[in-house]
């Protein structure tokens, strides 16, 4: 019976829960977009750039991958304020997790670029394409396809990481779970329901990406296997 009451309480909060889900999804997409826009150039810079550029990128990548997400959230939230710039928790979360994701994504893309081999680039250059043109027309289309499985892993891990934005006060799905949990005094049921929502968001995203991978498949060009 208590369980039913708890579920009813969650039902009554359905609108805020949906709002929270929306925030979670928005946060995930924004940070992935930042990660993608930064991650690709970083990967290209590391593979095709000169020594100085690639060293800087390695340091950047290492740093952002070594510092816990939670610490990054605090740094991006409190950091600007120290210099008198005030940003919303939501924006701070997007920046912190987005920069972090760019480090992971650049690693994914770098692996894909290196797996493609020199032949494609040489063939493109032999046609008279500039390096930039070769990258845009030949390398990137292959790299993006090959990256989808790993990118799908990245999606599911950053989706879960957005729950940490709770710590700097973003009113996301997790935060709403927290509020209802306090009200109903039965946190397990509430958190389980919230967990189910996250689970389905993960599933929906990874399913979509697997569909995309199949849709874009080129005969004879295998997507990279990802173990771990």
């Amino acid at each position: 019976m208590e369980i039913l009451e708890t579920l009813a309480a969650i039902g009554k909060s359905i609108i805020p829960v949906l709002r929270g889900t929306e925030i979670t999804v928005a946060l995930t997409f924004s940070l992935l977009a930042i990660g993608l826009m930064m991650g690709l150039p970083l990967a290209l810079g590391q593979v095709y750039g000169n020594k100085i550029i690639s060293t800087i990128i390695v340091v950047y990548e290492r740093t952002f991958r070594s510092i816990p997400a939670l610490v990054l959230l605090f740094l991006f939230y409190f950091g600007p304020a120290t210099f008198g710039i005030y940003i919303s928790p939501f924006l701070a979360a997007i920046l912190a997790l987005g920069f972090r994701s760019s480090a992971y994504q650049s690693q994914i893309f770098r692996g894909a670029i290196q797996s493609i081999g020199q032949g494609q680039m040489m063939a493109a250059r032999s046609l008279g394409m500039s390096k930039l043109k070769a990258i845009i027309y030949i390398i990137l289309p292959l790299v993006l396809r090959r990256s989808i499985p790993s990118w799908s892993n990245e999606y599911s891990s950053v989706l879960k990481d957005t729950a940490l934005a709770f710590a700097i006060g973003v009113i996301d799905l997790n935060r709403w779970g927290w509020r209802i949990a306090i009200r109903t005094q039965d946190p397990i049921i509430v958190f389980l329901v919230i967990g189910v929502i996250y689970f389905f968001l993960t599933l929906a995203g990874t399913r979509f990406l697997r569909w995309l991978e199949k849709e874009l498949k080129i005969p004879g060009f295998q997507s990279r296997d990802t173990i771990g």
Binding site: I67, A69, L70, F74, F78, A81, A163, G195, F199
Partner: protein, 223 residues
Amino acid sequence: MNFLTLDWKTIFPQLLKGTLTTLQLTAIAISLGFVVGILLTLGWLYGNKPIRIFCRGYVDLFRGTPLLLQLFIVYYGLPRYGIRFSPFVAAILGLGLNSAAYQAEYFRGAIQSISQGQMLAARSLGMSEFKAIIHIILPQALRIVIPAWSNELIYTLKYSSVAYMIGTTELMFAGKIIAAKNFRFFEVFLVVAFIYLIVVLIISHFLRMIEKRAKIPGLQMIS
């Protein structure tokens, strides 16, 4: 922003204590995850149908939901049903059971990468399936999995910071206390970030040494 004006004499011992707790938490959680992860893998690959479904479900569930949520369930959810843990123990359980799911996934990948012939040859010598797993399959799988497992260890170390959210007094928590007392959030968290960075780099270095030591010609490691 000036790090020199921070009261290092009082801050340093607090940060050190927090760091040690973080390392402790990580070590115990990863070990718990290792044991449970191995059991999950074996159940998943060699168990009967109900066991297989349970192990699969466990892995999917723990990998499909945020760690923070899992910690909340253990620390805030279970007391309602009379099960109460200290923040430290709750963090170990949450992190450990979460890591078990990821470790199981890595172990499974490693075992499945071992050719069927190894099992056949072991059985043809008269080994039982259990013996073959213990003497032939696991020793190979555990070597193959080292790089992936090293990543998991580093992940667990970093995500142990989430335990701060249920009041475990680890590095992050120490940072928060110091920051609040001095009202110097940015500087203190920069110091905390730096500590994590150093610890991660040192441990990664050690893990890579172990990886090199464990290398056997012909055994391809997966990362």
